[in-house]
Symmetry: C2
DNA sequence: TATTAAATATACAGACTTGTATATTTAATA
DNA sequence: TATTAAATATACAAGTCTGTATATTTAATA
């Protein structure tokens, strides 16, 4: 496969934007810093992305795809339908460990730009709804004991994942996510 | 009680900062906008608060106090120990309705400034730990059925509150918080 | 090899950022 | 009423922000 020049540059820009937006935050990361650290020309950035907001959107879209690809890989490795649900917590926990308890890219983007740009909000909603739907399907197929309804269990797991990540990014440890796993295990 | 001039000005500054930091975000709110909308002089702001970060800290501290005062009032009105726990969800839900699903002030501040200023992070951790401790005490006194341990139930409620607020601020509705209440009711 | 598209370097516009400095006016207190 | 502290208006420094413009160099393709 031939790799186009444009691809390489766009990827360098997105890689750098992702790193900086996630670690420092979107609003405190200037275009000039992205340009400098990506080692590309500013005109190239604005040829690939119309504005800083468009760069944020592209970053969110790519994150959405990659995040679910990795999650799907993890879940597919597991046969037991209840274990599939529990691995959601492992996945979240491992990712928090890996990225230094930086929290969730979508929640962060929502808190920084979600209230001022509806395209950004829509992208974040799409990703979170995707997660909810993904959980819902696993719940339906889990054969859980029906102490809670399918809908309740789905909402419970979703909220514990979101709350667990938030707790991780505030307290800088993933104990809550581990505890969440044990709780869900009892309720399955 | 005599009201000092300094008090009035500081309050006007804090009121405006709170409104703007919460609605727009901390990083996109300039000192000049706070000065203009609070209708005070810039020198007055810097006489009361050493820096913009100190203003953020003062805002977080005041929010911490007021938020728990109101919560305490709500909980004290209720006699039944299990209902005390359930009212946590009502409180969170009502506040989300009231402020237009803007999410949590502490989570927002954490995502905007928590990773670059350790004083800000410490203030946020203090508030969230306070909430966790508050829940823990209610759980101990709740006489719940011990399907989960006290510690597990505390963590569960904490995570559902955090996750429920995050969901509210992303999806612009508080259905999850209402569902969370029903779930906890089943587990009590 | 000639043409075309992509990426580059550099400079700049115009607005905004936090924080400081200075001089003046207001209001509370002794 | 005289003194003192608080708040004000205004200007400014030095830097940053997003986005554009221009001219040049690189590399892929026909």
């Amino acid at each position: 496969m031939i790799r186009k020049r444009g691809q390489v540059v766009a990827d360098k820009i997105l890689d750098t934007a992702e790193r900086l937006f996630f670690k420092q935050g979107y609003n405190v990361t200037g275009i000039n810093q992205v340009v400098e650290e990506a080692d590309i020309a500013k005109a190239s950035l604005y040829k690939h992305f119309e504005s800083k907001t468009d760069l944020l959107l592209a970053y969110l879209q790519r994150t959405h795809e990659r995040w679910f690809d990795r999650l799907g890989d993890d879940v597919n490795k597991i046969a037991d339908p209840k274990e599939k649900l529990l691995t959601l917590f492992d996945y979240h926990r491992e990712r928090q460990l890996k990225n230094g308890y930086n929290g969730c890219r979508f929640i962060k983007a929502n808190d920084e730009a979600g209230m001022s740009d509806e395209r950004v909000l829509a992208e974040i909603q799409k990703a979170k709804q995707h997660l909810k739907d993904f959980i819902a399907e696993l719940v339906v197929n889990s054969g859980h004991q029906k102490l809670l309804t399918d809908k309740e269990l789905t909402g419970l797991i979703f909220m514990m994942l979101e709350g667990g990540i938030v707790a991780a990014s505030i307290f800088k440890q993933a104990d809550d996510l581990q505890s969440a796993r044990a709780i869900i295990q009892k309720l399955l």
